[in-house]
Amino acid sequence: MSKPTGNGVNDKLIAIAKENNITTVWDRFMLQEPHCGFGTLGICCKICNLGPCRIDPFGEGAQVGTCGADADTISARNLARNTAGGASCHSDHGRDLALTLLELGRGKAKDYFIKDPVKLRKLAIEFGLKIDGKDDLKIAEELGERILREYGQQEGELTLIKRAPKKQIDTWKKMNVYPKGIDIEVVETMARTHVGVDNEYKHIIECAVRTSLVDGWGGSMIATDLSDILFGSPKPIRAEVNLGVLKEDEVNVLVHGHEPTLSDIIVTASQDKELIELAKTNGAKGINLAGICCTAAEILMRHGLPMAGNFLQQELAIVTGAVEAMVVDIQCIMPSLPDVAKNYHTKLISTSPKAKFKGIEHIEFHEKEALSIAKNILRQAIENYKNRSSKKVNIPKEKMTIVAGFTMENIFHNLGGTFRGTYRPLNDAIISGRIRGVAGVVGCDNPKNESSMCHIDMVKHLVKNDVLVVQTGCSAGACGQAGLLTPEAAFRYAGDGLKEICETVGIPPVLHTGSCVDNTRILTACCEMVKEGGIGNSIDELPVAGAAPEWMSEKAIAIGWYFVASGIYVVLGTPLRVLGSKNVTNYICDEIESTLGGKWAFEGDPIKAAQLMVEHIDKKRKALKLNSLMYAAA
């Protein structure tokens, strides 16, 4: 029996799964308990065949592996390899978008369009291209080539990293972590962590830092910018979240995964009159397209389409019995889905050339025939509607409307309109002490925690303390379900100062900025806060903090690292797997702050973790000699 998740919607569906002998992530999690102590502490090494080796954390048994690597080396190497894994995912995501842009420019991906030509031109100029007299497609082609070159580049520097304040760049150069190209740094991390190569833990961690920078200021940032160009730059928009968005009388299609190249085309296809007609002839009222995980965030931000669920809810979505098709691409897709789906009529379709699943039909997706593939997928879903068994349908009632669609760029308009677009009101709010600071609360959800509750409790504590919260991915989903992403939430949850700002601008106290690659929007927004002035001359001086209270993926490690490397204090709900090495733990949780400006902290209690962030923000406010909070309780 799995423990209650703390989330009513989930608990109800888990009970239904139980009745039908369907195991879910929570059951499998229980079977894994207790988790391997060596793995948890990061002192198990499987890198070479002298082992596997492990270090005795109590100091009685082996203190080094067969090759002689000690706990410091082993945990640092593991951490660096995890970072490389996460950075690879994001950078690959960016690469695919660059390839799509290139194909579009070359006239081969005809189903795509330049939806934000202004941003295309701006980015092309940033990459040093001459755009005079060139049409959008020509620019797209050249920009695609130029960006892809940066992936393979062996020397030089990344273009977008130059967006960072000078102090950050100087720090990176001084610490020897300033990346040369995107792929080379990931490869080097893998090479250096091979048996018998790099052994000094601080030197290995340099690798982790450098690799994370090619994610945040490289691959992920490219992914965000190109997605805006290809699929449109988000604007504030309403959408619904939670499994209650599934409809009894429509063909429910869920897109799950990460890359918008497919999902955005499916959005287009779902509006096709013929397909809607087909749905009707199959007895449905229409096609209801919704998302899971970050793919959901992509189509929610740009089209206001609903987010049916977070990472942990992917199986439960099928358990509703109302999903005709779940279309998956890459990242965070559980291999268990076919086992769940076999109990229902739900058709699982994998699409990425990079990801296949045992027991899932594969309809490979290619940009060149994007729309026809998308239509084919939808057709299969529609035809599957008749196989839905009404007896098995259990759609929860719970759903919540949210306001999402915030970006670094549209903050300008939201704060100052067309003519006076500016970050001044935000900086002023911080300086005057109406807002204490800004916190990014992001990341996955994890059965180690009560379902999503860590996000919700943490964010409530932050906004109560006048901290404006920015979110992405599943964390935004969690808080969205709890009603924190509505403008009304300011009146219910926010401190008086934050409330006043939300009221003036008309925003929620918690801003949804997109998918997990879109964490880069938070980086660039920090750059704009620095540029606007008055709250620090570099990111590490800003009164800001970050957290991933329920992190689980390697991507979360890479993201955390690039925030730490950019000068931000990052709190994780469960520790990185380094606690078996005092030196590594001390280095990344303390010592590294003196060079990078940011550091890690681990705190499982979301309220205490939020309080750590508040204290950190206060420390930064004090260093900046900012006023005390305007409405702080006497």
């Binding site: 504030p236 928009i237 309403r238 409307t401 949210i402 306001v403 308009h413 939201n414 704060l415 100052g416 309109g417 067309t418 003519f419 006076r420 677009g421 500016t422 001044r424 009101p425 935000l426 900086n427 002023d428 709010a429 005057s432 109406r434 509505t486 403008p487 009304e488 006043e500 700002i501 009221e503 003036t504 601008v505 008309g506 925003i507």
Partner: protein
């Protein structure tokens, strides 16, 4: 709440758009697309459209383009629930309203419906040139646009008089339910026109565009911005045109929309009715929309809201006031009364307080006034100046306080010396006979603080105590504050800071001179210590005190740093390459001419002498102060000679490269006495408690011939130190 304003402004903008569209359609229908349309006497076409969109509207079809653009700025009203962000949309609706109002007014001109009776109508370029320059250069502190009508005629008159008193140009117009402030003022026979600074623009809100499209022309004419440089023009208005809107009586959608337009220009709104406020800052300099029911307070509140700096050009006192009188002395026989010095207790103290605690311009004399004082008498005096300002800091207190000296001295018949609780003031018989009172000290200080420190002072209140018990009581707080200030810098060392400060205040007459102000070395004029330089930089970031990052230390003993060398090189116009902070022999500090003391080498004695500016006799160097001064000033590095601030002698870093105080063989008696306590302390620390007595002064020697035997007699340490040359 803001959402109410947003909704009203967006609705209002749509209404105004509709009116503009209808008027334009009608005009096009009746007169044709090519019909000329213009405002009288302007080269800027439709000024708002010209500045923001770069449009030159000459005929009706040009106006159509402006109208079409303004439509793109209209957004949906915020929804009842789960609304989308509305601040940006509201600001856009404001711009749309301004563009459409301009079209409406120009069309009224086309139909000869403007100006309205008794009103000015469109403000011509001539007015812009004659009055606008005063507005942007600060002679006219700002302008107010009043919309609506006051609750009664008396209030209307009171408010415009309050503005008039402060030389704030006041535009009056619009109405509440048909009643306009213009008619209220006409009924009360208030003289209106450009000469009286009260100008009626029109009886409806739409005509409120006149003051606004007058202001935007300031950005084009005086700001040098080009047509279409929208953001620059709006920012110019925000930063240079100190205007605000004052809404009397109820508001409607049209007023809100026009207000949203004004806010884009940085002009905030104050109302006397119960409206939602927008207090967070960012588009305007301070709050955007506030209310004030009390008409007695509404004008001061508006001034504070817009950050208008009042200049008091003429100080209303019965004696002449000019820098020319600064050096004037009041001799005993001319004196009516005196305060402080050796004759009674006196102090002066500037303190920072919260704005709510004081009233600007309030001056109070507690105790006997001048008329109650017997001729020739000495009376206790406490001058307490309370200053409030959004940008005021505690660190600025001593800077303001030090100015009391020159501010009071500049009045004819007032003599002031010293500072803090060692000040001494005399008032002449002439001044007393002309009617000068002690309260005028307050009048002077209030006016001058506003004038000289307008960036940091919003409110100044002065209290003058003349009763012994009051002076004794209030001096305590002042003394603890003086001590605090001294301790702050006294506790600091050169090593404890990363930044030093340049001072190039005197480059007007010594073009290559730079002072390097360090915690342990005060500026050579003795007036600026490290904290003062820091505060001065905050007051005036582009001013004479610039931060120097020390950089790498090249020589600890001499006090040489890479960063200081770079700064010295740059600030001395590349004439100096090196600077040693603690040495007089190697790359010493240059001198402008304002130094308090001169330190000069006496090779025969293997040491140095120090002479202060006030000393008129001769020195062992064979020259008096003024001859010496002539040889070392002007910004040259002259090893062996240096101008210094008096307090530097007591610093641990005083020519420490050459051995510090132990190298001083001669010093004037006046310096010795003034610094006696500290010099004794240092002598003790140097392990030579008698050192101060070993240093000769003018009572024992004024030539080297007299000096050397004395030094040998007392066993001065310099004689046995390493050769100075």
């Amino acid at each position: 709440m803001s959402k109410i304003i947003a909704s009203a402004a967006i609705r209002g903008a749509k209404t105004i758009y509709k009116e503009a569209e209808d008027s334009l359609n009608k005009a096009v229908k009746e007169k044709g697309e090519g019909c000329e349309v213009k405002f009288p006497e302007t080269a800027f076409y439709f000024p708002m459209a010209y500045a923001l969109l770069g449009e030159e509207v000459k005929v009706l079809s040009d106006a159509r383009r402006v109208l079409q653009f303004s439509k793109t700025l209209l957004h949906d009203e915020p929804s009842q629930k789960i609304w989308l962000p509305y601040l940006g949309d509201t600001l856009d609706s404001g711009i749309s309203a301004l563009l459409c109002e301009e079209i409406i007014m120009a069309l009224r001109y086309l139909y000869n419906e403007e100006p309205q009776k008794d009103c000015n109508g469109f403000f011509s370029d001539t007015i812009l040139r004659t009055l606008g320059i005063q507005l942007v250069d600060g002679r006219m502190p700002g302008f107010a646009a009043i919309l609506g009508a006051a609750q009664d005629n008396k209030t209307a008159v009171y408010i415009v008089r309050e503005l008039q008193k402060r030389s704030i140009m006041t535009f009056v117009g619009s109405n509440v339910n048909g009643r306009s402030i213009i008619d209220q003022l006409l009924e009360e026979k208030v003289e209106m026109g450009w000469d009286t600074y009260i100008v009626p623009y029109g009886r409806d809100t739409i005509s409120g565009i006149y003051p606004l499209n007058w202001a935007i022309r300031g950005a084009l004419t005086f700001g040098g911005h080009k047509k279409g440089e929208a953001r620059e023009c709006l920012m110019y208005c925000k930063n240079r045109v100190f205007a605000f809107g004052m809404v009397l009586g109820e508001l409607d959608d049209i007023k809100y929309a026009t207000g949203a337009g004004a806010i884009n220009m940085g002009f905030p709104i104050i109302a006397d009715t119960d409206i939602p406020e927008i207090r967070p800052t960012g588009i305007c300099t301070y709050e955007h929309v506030i209310k004030e029911y009390d008409h007695k307070k509404i004008v001061p509140k508006a001034i504070e809201l817009r950050g208008i700096k009042l200049k008091i050009t003429e100080i209303p006192i019965p004696v002449a006031y000019s820098p020319a009188f600064e050096g004037e002395r009041v001799r005993r026989e001319q004196m009516f009364a005196q305060f402080g010095g050796k004759y009674s207790d006196a102090f002066e103290y500037v303190k920072m307080v919260d704005a709510e605690k004081i009233e600007d311009g309030k001056i109070e004399v507690v105790g006997p006034e001048i008329d109650d004082i017997k001729e020739g008498g000495a009376v206790p005096l406490g001058i307490v100046v309370e200053v409030a300002g959004r940008k005021m800091q505690k660190d600025f207190e001593p800077i303001l306080e030090r100015q009391i000296h020159s501010f009071l001295n500049e009045a004819m018949g007032i003599f002031h010396m010293g500072q803090r609780d060692m000040c001494w003031v005399r008032i002449s018989k002439d001044a007393k006979n002309k009617g000068l009172k002690l309260k005028h000290f307050g009048v002077i200080l209030h006016a001058r603080f506003h004038d000289v420190f307008s960036a940091i002072t919003d409110k100044v209140q002065v209290t003058i105590y003349t009763k012994q018990e009051d002076v004794e009581k209030s001096v305590k707080e002042a003394i603890s504050s003086y001590d605090e200030r001294d301790e702050r810098v006294a506790g600091m060392t050169d090593e404890s800071v990363d930044l030093f400060w340049t001072c190039t205040l005197c480059q007007s007459f010594a073009p290559n001179h730079v002072c390097v102000i360090k915690p342990e070395r005060i500026g050579l004029c003795g007036a600026y210590n490290w904290l003062d330089a820091k505060a001065s930089n905050e007051l005036n970031p582009a001013g004479p005190n610039q931060p120097i990052k020390k950089g790498q230390c090249l020589d600890t003993a001499k006090g040489e740093w890479t960063g200081v060398n770079e700064a010295i090189n740059q600030k001395s116009n590349r004439t100096l390459e090196r600077f040693c902070g603690y040495s007089i022999m190697d790359a010493p500090e240059t001198s402008c001419g304002c130094f308090e003391c001169i330190i000069a080498i006496l090779p025969e004695a293997n040491g140095f002498m120090v002479v202060n500016r006030e000393y008129t006799g001769s020195t062992p160097a064979g020259m008096g102060f003024s001859t010496l001064a002539g040889t070392i000033g002007g910004g040259q590095q002259t090893p062996g000679f240096m101008g210094i601030g008096r307090l530097y002698i007591t610093s641990k870093k005083f020519i420490s490269a050459e051995g510090g105080l132990k190298r001083i063989v001669w010093m004037t008696k006046e310096i010795k006495e003034a610094l006696a306590d500290k010099l004794k302390e240092i002598s003790k620390e140097l392990g030579d408690p008698d050192l101060i007595n070993k240093i000769a002064d003018e009572t024992v020697a004024t030539t080297t011939e007299e000096l050397l035997p004395y030094l040998e007699k007392v066993g001065h340490p310099a004689l046995t130190m390493e050769a100075v040359l």
